[in-house]
């Protein structure tokens, strides 16, 4: 029974990291219909920023996790400049597919640029302890502080984000743009600014996810965003892409499936089960768990 609870906790923690990344995917997809392949690499950027700012932060006497603030700023800047330099010109000229290729090229570019920077290099870097070590025991189950902080922070962020998109003017503008760009322009919304803002928020979430990932697996390398981003994207699609609560739900489901297959079936087959669940769910509900099946107009 304690294995079950331990697995559940691990799954929730992993799931909330996936959910945070998936939110970035889903927001960008919702607004410009582009699978942002470079999003995984924003996590890598965030990870390195955290690693490099931790010594500075510690010297100032603040706890290590404060470095996430720097990561948030850097990631948001990287995300917004990606949109400005690469995606916007292509979006004006090309089709959806060319935008997709640009995203792939951007991801490749970021990964290899990081390797070309001498302080980063191709070898992994190890981070120091981010949250306090140890944890609270409930009977036979241990809740590590890392887990507790991860769950709390991601829950708070999701709540804030949801309120932001539902209640504020900027959030409403974002939802308008994703529904109908032309109509949004007519209503006086600056579409390009809104898209830029979306990229900023999505990338900032990736930075937070990077911190949580590092808290658990204290190692960064230039290709760390690959599989992490892929699974997050899968979570976004599973929940129904473009839908914010869907990304959260999808992330948690994927995290739980992964941790349960790892501890009960086989650790090397975990990916197979993650994707198998995905395929089964999508065959039953083709628009994702929370997605609505829109009938086609003729």
């Amino acid at each position: 029974m304690s294995t079950f609870f331990q697995t559940l906790i691990v799954g929730l923690r992993l799931g909330s990291i996936y959910a945070l990344i998936a939110l970035g995917y889903t927001m960008v997809y919702g607004i410009i219909r582009l699978i942002n392949f470079a999003h995984g690499d924003f996590i890598m950027v965030g990870g390195y920023t955290v690693i490099f700012t931790i010594p500075l932060v510690l010297r100032l006497g603040a706890p290590a996790w404060v470095s996430v603030l720097a990561a948030v700023v850097v990631c948001a800047l990287v995300g917004m400049s990606t949109e400005l330099i690469a995606y916007r010109p292509v979006r004006k000229k090309g089709t959806n597919m060319t935008a997709l290729i640009t995203a792939i090229a951007m991801s490749l570019f970021l990964e290899n640029l990081a390797q070309a920077i001498p302080v980063i290099g191709p070898n992994p870097k190890v981070s120091t302890q981010i949250f306090r070590a140890g944890g609270i025991r409930f009977g036979t189950v241990t809740m590590e502080y890392t887990t507790i902080f991860t769950l709390i922070i991601s829950a708070v962020i999701m709540l804030v984000l949801y309120t932001f998109t539902q209640k504020t003017r900027l959030g409403r503008a974002m939802r308008c743009v994703s529904e109908d760009k032309a109509a949004a322009t007519l209503m006086g919304i600056n579409v390009n600014h809104t898209i830029l803002l979306t990229f900023g928020i999505g990338s900032a979430l990736a930075a937070v996810a990077a911190l949580m990932y590092l808290a658990q697996y204290p190692k960064v390398y230039t290709t760390m965003g690959g599989l992490l981003g892929l699974k997050a994207f899968v979570s976004a699609v599973l929940g129904g892409i473009g839908i914010i609560p869907g990304a959260m739900l999808g992330g948690i489901v994927i995290g739980l499936v992964e941790s349960f297959t790892t501890s009960y079936i086989s650790s090397s087959m975990a990916d197979t089960f993650v994707f198998l669940i995905l395929i089964i769910v999508l065959v039953i509900k083709p628009a994702g768990i929370l997605g609505k099946n829109v009938g086609e107009k003729v």
Binding site: M97, T98, A116, S268, F275, L278, P286
Partner: protein
């Protein structure tokens, strides 16, 4: 009259291909043992062959049917492992000894066909859920299938995580099975070329047939196509299987080219240019809906990649620029972004290169350019 034009086109293409092929055979005979020919040109040709077949096979699904598939290399992996394991099994059971055995040719053909058939069957499996899904949901399902295939191959005891590179199978794949050394690559180059030409021709004929017209109708408007009596479900599954067959053939060619197999070559992304994402890049770069475009793009991508990594001109660059070339994929990404910015519809668009129409097409393009220039001049004069 139209029919006559088509058959004339086929005749012309056949003649040119046969001429080129004979010329190449003679070249091989003359220069077969030459160092750079054996070690650079021939291996490059082998790699181009499988990249071309792979890119064209994806173009059937992506360019002509309009369904984004992100797991194409998964089928290639199935083909590669099937061909390699089958040839190894034949060798171990004593069916043939050595590469000069005439039976080896038979085994080679058999393993290519088996590779194609098995991956076609697996593609059928993907095609069926594809009927219910569209756009990015379909993309993610194919991506999932690609990952599952690679993951399962990793966990099969006779394939293993490190592929056939380690353990008892390795040496024998290289020496006795389909894995070709540089000498055998020269010896069997004709086989690779014929397989490639045959595959491209079959795909080309598919696209030109009534099936090709049907899948293009599905791409343009699924509802209108089904209203006009096109069996949408049937054609989708058929095209997936057909494309999967050639992905398997490409995999078998890959198994011949590389003496070792490892699943990391067939992943969704990796450090090189052979992965599911880059096949999509090849197709889009060449132009969706142009088979010749895909073939050309595959060759160009290979060439650029090779030149960035091994080109002698890199040494001539000033040292500040040369620093970037230590990271080939960085240069590659930049090249890709620039190409996409300047030719957003791909190199060929939906234009098919053809020998027969080359001269009229060139003339028309020149006329169009002239008209555009004239228009610009007039606009400048007026404005």
């Amino acid at each position: 009259m139209n029919l006559k034009k088509t058959s004339n086109g086929y005749l012309l293409n056949t003649v040119v291909i046969v001429l080129l092929f004979t010329a190449f055979q003679i070249l091989t005979k003359v220069k077969g043992s030459d160092g750079s020919f054996k070690l650079v040109l021939v291996p490059s040709l082998w790699q181009c062959c499988y990249l071309m077949v792979l890119a064209c096979s994806l173009n059937l699904v992506l360019g002509f049917m309009g369904q984004l598939s992100l797991g194409h290399c998964g089928f290639m992996a199935v083909g590669a492992y099937t061909a390699a394991l089958l040839s190894l099994a034949c060798e171990r059971s004593g069916f043939f000894t050595g590469k000069s055995d005439p039976m080896f040719l038979l085994v080679m053909i058999a393993s290519f066909l088996a590779a194609g058939t098995l991956s076609a069957l697996l593609s059928l499996l993907v095609g069926i859920p594809a009927l219910r899904l569209k756009g990015d949901y379909l993309a993610i399902i194919t991506l999932g299938f690609g990952m599952i295939i690679v993951n399962i191959i990793n966990n099969l005891p006779f394939c293993g995580q490190d592929g056939l590179a380690l353990g008892s199978a390795a040496a024998s794949l290289y020496k006795n099975g389909l894995g070709f050394g540089s000498k055998a690559k020269v010896q069997f180059l004709w086989f690779a070329l014929i397989v490639t030409i045959l595959s491209l021709t079959l795909m080309f004929m598919f696209v030109r047939s009534k099936y090709g017209r049907a899948i293009r109708a599905i791409r343009d408007d699924e509802i209108a196509a089904s209203a006009s009596g096109v069996n949408v479900a049937g054609f989708k599954v058929l095209t997936f299987a057909y494309s999967g067959f050639f992905a398997g053939i490409a995999g078998a060619l890959y198994a011949c080219t590389n003496a070792t197999l490892s699943t990391s070559s067939f992943a969704f992304t990796n450090g090189g240019i052979l992965n599911s994402t880059f096949v999509v890049v090849m197709v889009v770069l060449g132009g969706m809906g142009s088979l010749t475009g895909s073939a050309v793009a595959a060759a160009i991508m290979f060439f650029v990649n090779y030149q960035i990594k091994n080109g002698t001109w890199v040494d001539l660059l000033p040292s500040s620029v040369k620093g970037i070339f230590e990271y080939p994929m960085l240069v590659y990404a930049l090249v890709l972004i620039v190409v996409i910015l300047f030719r957003p519809k791909g190199i060929f668009g939906s234009y098919e290169f053809s020998l027969q129409n080359l001269i009229p097409d060139l003339r028309r393009a020149a006329a169009q350019r002239k008209a555009a220039r004239q228009e610009r001049k007039e606009a400048r004069a007026n404005g």
